[in-house]
């Protein structure tokens, strides 16, 4: 691979968090010719409407359509008991969007596989909501809010939008932004249940990992570690069977001891079961997906270049941490998709357990909104600032 290690698509980048998000949106959408498509998921998460609420409050005159992704989780999902909260969120969304068009896109997360068995198809179904470019060509801006979307859904969804925009937008680009409301306290109170056994690379992010004709190349795995994910990590490991593992820890982080705590939590798994060498540990900033993407992309290119005389390598990235950091893995995999086989392996859960929903509602106000701008004006040569 000849590419310069420092040539990166999203460097420089446009990224905003907290109050700056609303400033960014207010300035950007004050132009009258904007037509916006806002995509979000319907769910019980109290953060579902934070993004759209912020946008509509600050830009009340905006010309906006909404696609609401509603997922059918199957009759046995433990999330059904939270349906009343999902309905509350939906009613709130309806009132926020009064006077605007809302189209509901229903997708199945599962496909029946026989009596009492099923397999996960949410990624493919999510990508399939965008069948052709004509569906989005009249929009100037698309915002995908992932606050209430599971990882198994939004990766392929964003990938499909990115690919479609890259492929079809030859004369002008559509502004594609990802928004997410993060709140570590809420995350810690939503406990994942029933870790998927049926795992695989997400659609569009297979990275040629499962090509047997290329299986001689060593596989390097970059898992971004997060709290209480030992079962997820175990399943992912068994699936990938990597030759080398470079665990990624979040640092700098809001809690400066977070990466140390993670090492303590996973010590047995990392050093006894997998025999990982301490020098393989990597650190990426917890709060900035673009910085994390830059570090991961460079590390992977370095690995690939070092191993190129031995036929190169394959890379798998997995994220077991926040959604903001998961976007870093998406950008890295997308950037390296053509040059190096980089796959994204996701391990989802089949349900969630929440002890006290009212507590989550009280925590909602402390959520932080992030906007990650991926395509469009800032990256267009003619309009670059």
């Amino acid at each position: 691979m000849d590419k310069n290690l420092n040539t990166l698509r999203w460097d420089p980048y446009v990224f905003a968090n907290d109050q700056k998000v609303l400033e960014l949106w207010t300035n950007h959408f004050s132009e009258s010719n904007r037509k916006v498509l806002f995509i979000l998921g319907r769910g019980f998460d109290v953060r579902m409407n934070i993004g759209i609420e912020g946008l509509m409050e600050n830009c009340p005159e905006i010309d906006l359509d909404c696609w609401l992704i509603q997922f059918d989780e199957g009759s046995s999902s433990s999330s059904h008991k939270y349906e009343k909260y999902a309905e509350e969120n939906f009613k709130q969304l309806e009132s926020i969007l009064e006077g605007h068009t809302m189209e509901i896109k229903t997708i199945s997360l599962w496909s029946a596989k026989g009596k009492g068995k099923r397999s996960r198809i949410g990624d493919r179904q999510a990508a399939a909501i965008l069948e052709k470019f004509e569906q989005i060509e009249n929009y100037t801006d698309i915002i995908i809010d992932i606050s209430a979307l599971p990882r198994g859904v939004y990766f392929s969804l964003i990938g499909k939008f990115l690919k479609t925009i890259d492929f079809y937008c030859t004369d002008r680009s559509i502004n594609l932004m990802i928004s997410v409301a993060e709140n570590a306290a809420i995350d810690s109170k939503i406990l994942e249940k029933e870790v998927d056994d049926d795992i695989g690379y997400l659609q569009g992010f297979g990275g040629n990992l499962e090509l047997t004709s290329e299986m001689d190349e060593p596989t390097i795995w970059f898992p971004i570690l997060g709290e209480d994910k030992i079962k997820h990590l175990g399943k992912a490991f068994s699936h990938i069977m990597p030759d080398e593992i470079c665990p990624i820890l979040p640092f700098p982080s809001k809690d400066p001891r977070r990466s140390d705590s993670l090492i303590i939590d996973y010590h047995k798994w990392l050093f006894d079961e997998l025999n990982i060498q301490p020098q393989n540990l990597m650190y990426v900033p917890e709060q900035n997906p673009f910085d994390a993407y830059v570090r991961m992309t460079k590390a992977i290119r370095n690995f690939y270049n070092s191993l190129s005389s031995l036929n190169g390598c394959k890379v798998v990235i997995s994220t077991f941490s926040s959604k903001v950091l998961s976007i870093a893995t998406l950008l890295t995999a997308y950037e390296l998709m053509e040059d190096i086989g980089v796959g994204v392996l996701n391990v989802d859960s089949q349900g969630y357990e929440i002890d006290d929903f009212e507590e989550l509602k009280n925590l909602r106000e402390n959520s932080e909104l992030f906007v990650i701008w991926l395509t469009g004006e800032p990256y267009d040569e003619n309009t670059k600032l």
Binding site: S76, S78, S111, K113, G114, K115, G116, K117, S119, I121, R124, A127, G159, K160, K163, T164, E192, K193, E194, V195, D197, D198, I199, G200, Y201, Q203, G204, F205, G206, N208, E210, L211, T212, S213, M215, D216, K231, S238, M241, K268, D272, E273, L274, N275, S349, Q350, G351, E353
Partner: protein
């Protein structure tokens, strides 16, 4: 050979990198399941399905037959560590002193076969892509096996050029390639097919843009024969063995298509198909289907029918693991105490005796019937442990006697009558009752560790890893390495508690499964701990009796739609190794008895013995899974 602090944490065979390390840790006794098939002349030119729950050793079993492993073994066949394994494989004619006789071709099935079912094309087209992907991958795997069998014959880049494949293509299976061809040409042909189908699965583009090639037949198994290959003038193994691992990842339709093909063409090739129990239809999982049209090895069942052999396997595995520890503890079994430390536990035992005597005083206060029996305990001369056990036995006998309808006068029963009743069958219950308050250990010793493993090697390693960790800590702290009974029991029970806590994370339908298992555990406990110990081995299983009512259509519960949720939960419990099935004849009828996995016996404080089970009504069981 790498050394590890705690080698018991090193789990599945896939994680043990080099063939030499793998061979060193492998127990040849594990091959017995295949050796039996060989004796029955069913091992070669046949279809064998290898079934088990996760962690029972399917992949390790297949890995032995891979060319790299066999070549490594052949090169060091006289080494002490490998001699037995070499002998076992030689008896099956897999190897001999001249070389490897079987070319093991491994193909691990991944989820992407199943994704073909999600493509927006007709079912017939999906089937064609499935066959073409499988054909391409089997051909690629075969070529890879050749290269691995002769690693030193040439450098890897050129190794494929040394292979010549000469097939007459009379059936026109192959397009765009002429024969004879080199291995490289065949590799490129198969690789192109694989890439196109894979691209169809992974790409955001529609299928029509990619145009992958489909095949009408799974022909690769038929056209890959030793006689069609040459390799640089070297000897070609006389048999090809196709090993398809993780076939539970195929869709049900794909599994059926594969099975139909291999069963129809049976006899023309050797194929072993390994899959987890979860792939089976729920009804198949609970064992209702008879007369399968293929040979099957169910690893857990194989070992449960041969418990002594399984213990030997585990001793072997444990010793081999301990031997590669970097921490100077080179044995495992000998550091697990097999007897209760009576001196250390003397106060607990004495307290137990006096508490039991007080209880006996209380329940016999209105009768003199047991006065001699209680006197017998008080005057019993033996160690505190022996006395505590006898006390418990007498307590059980008194309860049994008191429950009977008394037609006799309340004359005191004699000591002779007591001695006549003190039979060995009271041993399990008395020891269990003695340990009920957990101050005296019940679960300890290597044999109990074996039983706690429920015939699953990974489960054994899981328990052993924590035991070994404790040994390492003892050594580091300057204490004796050996683990006493109390410590062993604490470790085992802690693991069981953690596994129980983890169930919601790992098992589908976890709420129903946990409720169901909890109820079973509770019922088993109730029956096991009845004061008169009516079930001498305790109760740790159940068999399902179809509910009989006036509306019953006399169908078995398995065939009744109404019980589908129960069937799914049972099937999940079996697939995740939470319940074990054993066939038991009782009253002239064959029953499927569902026993709790032995780690659940730890959770519910039940004995490890099999044999104690109760009939349960299908209607009641259905209620247990309702949430």
């Amino acid at each position: 050979m790498s050394r590890f602090r705690n080698p018991f944490r090193l789990r599945a065979s896939e994680r043990i990198e080099s063939d030499a390390s793998f061979l060193r840790l492998y127990s040849p006794i594990v091959l017995d399941a295949l050796a039996e098939k060989d004796k029955e002349e069913k091992l070669w030119n046949n279809v064998i399905y290898i079934h088990s729950s996760p962690g029972a050793g399917k992949t390790s079993l297949l890995r032995i037959f891979e060319p790299g492993t066999l070549s490594t073994l052949l090169n060091s066949r006289t080494a002490n560590d490998h001699r037995d394994l070499y002998g076992a494989l030689k008896r099956m004619a897999v190897v001999d002193d001249d070389g490897v006789n079987v070319l093991g071709i491994t193909l691990v099935c991944t989820r992407n076969y199943e994704i073909l079912e999600e493509l927006n094309v007709s079912n017939a087209q999906k089937r064609r892509y499935f066959f073409s992907l499988l054909n391409a991958r089997i051909i690629l795997a075969t070529l890879r096996s050749f290269v691995n069998l002769y690693p030193n014959s040439s450098n890897n880049g050129k190794a494929l050029d040394n292979i010549t494949y000469n097939y007459d293509n009379s059936d026109n299976y192959f397009n765009d390639i002429e024969f004879p061809c080199t291995g490289k040409q065949l590799f490129n042909w198969a690789s192109n097919i694989e890439k196109k189908v894979y691209q169809t699965i992974d790409s955001f583009l529609p299928v029509s843009e990619i145009k992958p090639e489909g095949h009408d037949e799974l022909f690769s198994l038929n056209v890959l024969r030793p006689e069609y290959f040459t390799y640089n003038g070297l000897r070609i193994p006389e048999k090809f063995l196709f090993m398809l691992d993780d076939c539970h990842k195929l869709s049900p339709g794909q599994r059926i298509a594969l099975k139909k093909y291999v069963v129809e063409k049976r006899g023309r090739f050797s194929i072993w198909i390994s899959e987890r129990l979860e792939a089976l239809d729920p009804a198949e999982n609970v064992g209702s289907l008879e007369g399968r049209d293929y040979d099957e090895i169910n690893l857990e069942k194989f070992w449960s029918d041969r418990p002594t052999k399984f213990e030997k396997v585990l001793v072997n595995i444990a010793d081999k693991r301990a031997a590669i520890s970097s921490e100077d503890i080179s044995s495992f079994k000998e550091f697990l105490e097999n007897d209760i430390q009576e001196d250390a536990l003397k106060p607990n035992l004495l307290e137990n005796i006096s508490t039991t005597l007080l209880k006996l005083d209380d329940i016999t206060k209105f009768t003199d019937k047991f006065i001699n029996w209680i006197k017998y305990i008080e005057e019993f001369e033996g160690s505190p442990l022996e006395k505590a056990v006898v006390t418990k036995k007498v307590e059980i006998l008194i309860h049994r006697n008191m429950r009977r309808n008394q037609l006799t006068f309340e004359f005191p029963l004699s000591i002779e009558e007591l001695l006549e009743k003190l039979k060995p069958d009271l041993e399990v219950s008395s020891r269990l009752f003695l340990s009920e308050n957990k101050t005296i250990p019940y679960y300890f010793g290597f044999q109990d560790l074996v039983k706690a493993s429920s015939y699953n090697i990974e489960q054994f390693l899981g328990f052993s890893a924590d035991m070994f960790e404790e040994m390492l800590s003892n050594r580091l702290s300057g204490f004796p390495t050996i683990l006493n009974g109390i410590t062993q029991q604490r470790i085992l029970v802690d693991i069981a508690e953690n596994k129980w806590k983890d169930l919601p994370k790992v098992v589908p339908y976890s709420t129903q499964v946990i409720k169901f298992l909890g109820k079973i555990g509770e019922e088993c406990r109730k029956d096991t701990y009845k004061p008169n110990a009516p079930y001498v081995l305790g109760v740790s299983g159940f068999a399902i009796k179809t509910s009989e009512d006036i509306f019953s259509d006399q169908k078995s519960w398995i065939d009744n739609e109404r019980y589908l949720p129960l069937l799914s939960i049972l099937s999940t419990c079996i697939a995740y190794n939470l319940l074990e099935i054993k066939k038991v004849t009782q009253g002239g009828q064959l029953w499927d008895v569902f026993y709790l996995n032995r780690w659940l016996c730890l959770k519910f404080n039940l004995p490890f013995n099999y044999g104690g089970w109760r009939h349960k009504n299908s209607e009641d069981l259905l209620k247990w899974i309702k949430i």
